[in-house]
């Protein structure tokens, strides 16, 4: 087994585009879950409308910048549609409604009725050429040893992580403002916030929309990198991966999603490489076949999520004192 290669590919994953996209999705969840206490299980729905908003607009002949705006607008609309009927309900209801909405959107997107617009089960491909045309990086591969990236990949990565940095900067300012303090107050005790005359409902809606738009950025980034959208990419497991990323980092901490995403993707790729290597070396002795490695990865993510939530719900960066999950 080539440990150097496994390590290199794990590092590539840790800083790659999917890690940046998951960081964005988890930043959105952090606004919902970490700062406001909203259990949004439908983050993937925001990613879907972001990705499809972009892809469909470009596919219908619009420019890419308009597509990005449409994606953002769609996420705002989705946040309002989701929030207005459900945010008055208890948290577990919100969880069920959001996951149900995500599934509805996926089914509708892949339906034959919408195939002229969304491409149905086949999705839409090759819509991000204008983005790659802007690439200032000269063609070639950059890096050292096997830790290297092509110029296209590097371009998406740069934009992706820049976006992460900008969003984090904006959030830091927002969450330190009185507005952010009200969000935390709602997380700690909704009734107390309400009794101080705060319009809890309005703040929750704003939080849902803000985190949803950040989630839409994640969807756009994934779509642009692969130049493809397919409805069956946007399954609810994505939401739970984002939760794992967030809880790994520590909900309610500004940098948690970034730390979580980097570690998550490193571990995911490392497990994958290690298992495949062990498989080729014959260490697993027929217990596992090649196509089962992916399933093992998913199972381990599930186990990790459980153990994190039980043993260290404050994640790597969080503190026990500031925690929303105990004694409710």
């Amino acid at each position: 087994m080539d440990f150097v290669e496994i390590l290199a590919s794990s590092l590539r994953s840790a800083v790659g585009v999917p890690a940046a996209a998951y960081a964005l999705a988890a930043i959105g969840l952090n606004v919902h879950f970490g700062y406001t206490g909203l259990l949004n299980f439908g983050q993937v729905a925001f990613m879907l409308v972001g990705a499809y908003g972009t892809a469909v607009t470009v596919n219908e002949g619009g420019p890419l910048w308009l597509g990005l705006l449409v994606g953002i607008g769609a996420a705002v609309v989705l946040g309002l549609l989701l929030g207005i009927p459900t945010l008055r309900l208890r948290t577990d209801y919100l969880a069920i409604v959001t996951i149900a909405t995500a599934e509805i959107l996926r089914y509708v997107t892949r339906s034959r009725a919408l195939e002229p617009l969304t491409g149905g089960v086949f999705g839409i491909q090759k819509f991000a050429d204008p983005f790659f045309a802007l690439n200032p990086i000269p063609p070639g591969r950059y890096g050292f040893g096997t830790f290297n990236f092509g110029h296209r990949q590097l371009w998406v990565m740069a934009v992706g992580w820049l976006l992460v940095a900008l969003v984090l900067l904006l959030l830091t300012v927002l969450l330190r403002s009185p507005w952010g303090r009200v969000l935390k107050a709602i997380r700690e005790d909704e009734d107390a916030a309400r009794s101080l005359g705060k319009n809890v409902f309005a703040y929750k809606i704003q939080s849902l929309v803000l985190g949803g738009v950040i989630g839409a950025f994640a969807g756009m980034l994934l779509a642009i990198e692969t130049q493809a959208v397919n409805p069956d990419t946007f399954i609810s497991i994505l939401t739970f991966f984002a939760y794992t990323v967030l809880i790994l980092g520590g909900p309610g901490r500004i940098l948690a999603p970034v730390v979580g995403a980097v570690i998550f993707w490193f571990l995911l790729q490392f497990t994958d490489g290690f298992l495949r290597g062990a498989l080729e070396a014959g260490w697993l002795g027929g217990v596992l076949e090649g196509n089962e490695v992916a399933a093992v990865r998913f199972a381990l993510v599930g186990l990790g999520l459980m153990l994190l939530m039980i043993l260290r719900p404050q994640g790597i960066l969080g503190s026990r004192e500031e925690l929303l999950t105990d004694e409710r």
Binding site: G37, L39, F41, P85, T86, R88, L89, R90, T91, D92, Y93, A95, I96, V97, I99, A100, T101, E103, I104, Y107, V108, R110, S111, R112, E115, G120, V121, F122, G123, Q125, T226, A228, N230, D232, T233, F240, Y243, T244, I247, E289, G290, N291, A295, V296, F298, A299, G302, L303, G304, L305, M306, L307, M309, I310, P313, L324, T325, D326, E327, R328
Partner: protein, 417 residues
């Protein structure tokens, strides 16, 4: 070149290049010996981003080259089928989880039938859909009742309940049809499966959720734990039984019988009756036994129940075991009317939520009635809407109920905000 030589040569070539995996098949109308169907578009893709297409040739055959071994998804573009030709089962235009091993030329089958000409009147068709809905709904009810009971006594929204349903189906499959299993008749496999499902429910409570309750872990954290559990267990099933659809050795294919205007397979009829009987038995247990009374007391007010001498922990344990056994039974039923798949329970989960919330979360009777309504509503919706919107209908009902009457049909109005 003599044909025999060409045959040998092609065989040699296949041997010489064992790494080139493909997926292919032949589309014929009405059985393997039927007329070939050319010009149909198929799409092959995987989760890693690969996608390819193939078009059926004049002899109906098609083949798509793959980047390597793995699990693929094959979709038949129904709109490219010629007029008068349709899939025998309209739900199976997409085959998920097609596994291709190294060097394999995997063949997959899309069964085509002649398009059914609707000679029946709309009333008959609607009646048949309603019966189909009752069959499905009774299974949903059975599965959902456990979810609702467990929520009632513990307040836990268990996202891993679908995996308990799958557990029943998969364990019964092991007893019945697995090559390493004992090969029991399906009917004999039911009882040990239910016992194991009850054991699973009890162990989840004793080993996982009771210790967490003791540590005063909050409800939100418990929901996230149940999500992790669901992911873990579901993919263990995937590793154990693979991604393909499995069938039991008995009752897999059964000709339908006509009862007046209704056509139905006998197994579906018996399953519906058995499910309704199990629900009725549960109702009697809840009403007339000490355990049932205790369950209702704990669900109503935990502290008061504790104070009046009920062992709350024991009641919760029994509720878990009972709920899991019912879910396991639903799994066996679902595996019999449809097929056994590693993610069948997870697919059912949101429909169960819809049933539970429609009936009123925490109420057992509500979940049962809610399941039947959801079943009939989703099936009947196919009268007006395309089949692919079935799940959408169930989930739309769920959201509508939460907007209009969040306590459900049978729930007592209380502040849930």
């Amino acid at each position: 070149m003599p044909p025999i030589l060409a045959y040998l040569l092609s065989g040699f070539l296949l041997f010489a290049a064992p790494a080139a995996e493909t997926i292919g098949g032949t589309l014929t109308q009405g059985g393997p010996a039927g007329d070939p169907v050319p010009g149909v578009v198929l799409a092959v893709s995987d989760t890693a981003g690969f996608s390819g297409t193939a078009i059926t040739a004049a002899d109906g055959s098609w083949e798509a080259a793959l980047p390597g071994p793995g699990t693929y998804r094959v979709a038949l573009d129904v709109s490219t089928l010629p007029e008068g030709v349709a899939l025998r089962d309209p739900d199976r235009s997409v085959l998920e989880g097609v596994e291709v091993r190294a060097g394999q030329h995997k063949s997959v089958v899309f069964a085509l039938g002649e398009r059914l000409v609707d000679t029946a009147g709309w009333a008959t068709r609607l009646l048949n859909l309603a019966v189909k809905g009752l069959i499905y709904g009774s299974i949903v009810s059975l599965a959902a009742v456990g979810l609702s009971l467990i929520f009632g006594v513990t307040g836990l929204v268990n996202f891993a309940h679908g995996e308990v349903v799958t557990f029943g189906a998969v364990v019964a499959w092991y007893f019945n049809a697995s090559t390493v299993g004992p090969g029991l008749h399906l009917l004999w496999a039911v009882l040990p499966t239910l016992a194991l499902a009850a054991l699973l429910g009890g162990s989840l409570e004793r080993g996982l959720f009771r210790p967490l309750r003791r540590r005063r872990t909050g409800n939100i954290a418990l929901i996230v734990v149940s999500i992790g559990l669901s992911l873990l267990v579901r993919h263990i099933y995937l590793i154990l039984v693979g991604g393909a659809s499995l069938t039991y050795r008995q009752y897999a294919v059964q000709p339908q019988i006509s009862l007046g205007p209704v056509t139905v397979a006998p197994k579906d009829l018996i399953i519906t009756l058995a499910a309704l009987a199990a629900l009725a038995a549960l109702g009697l247990i809840l009403r007339h036994t000490r355990l049932g009374t205790a369950m209702r007391a704990v669900a109503d007010n935990k502290d008061l129940a504790e104070a009046s001498g009920i062992s709350v922990d024991r009641v919760i344990l029994y509720t878990w075991a009972l709920g899991a056994a019912l879910a396991g039974l639903a799994g066996i039923f679902l595996g019999t009317t449809q097929t056994v798949q590693w993610d069948m329970g997870f697919v059912l989960l949101l429909t169960m939520f819809a049933a539970v919330i429609l009936g009123g979360i925490g109420t057992a009777y509500g979940a049962a009635v809610g399941g039947l309504i959801i079943g009939v509503a989703t099936e009947a919706s196919t009268f007006w809407l395309p089949v692919e919107f079935k799940v959408v209908v169930a989930l739309a009902v769920l959201i509508l109920v939460l907007m209009v009457r969040p306590q459900g049909i049978f729930g007592v109005k209380e502040r849930v905000g």
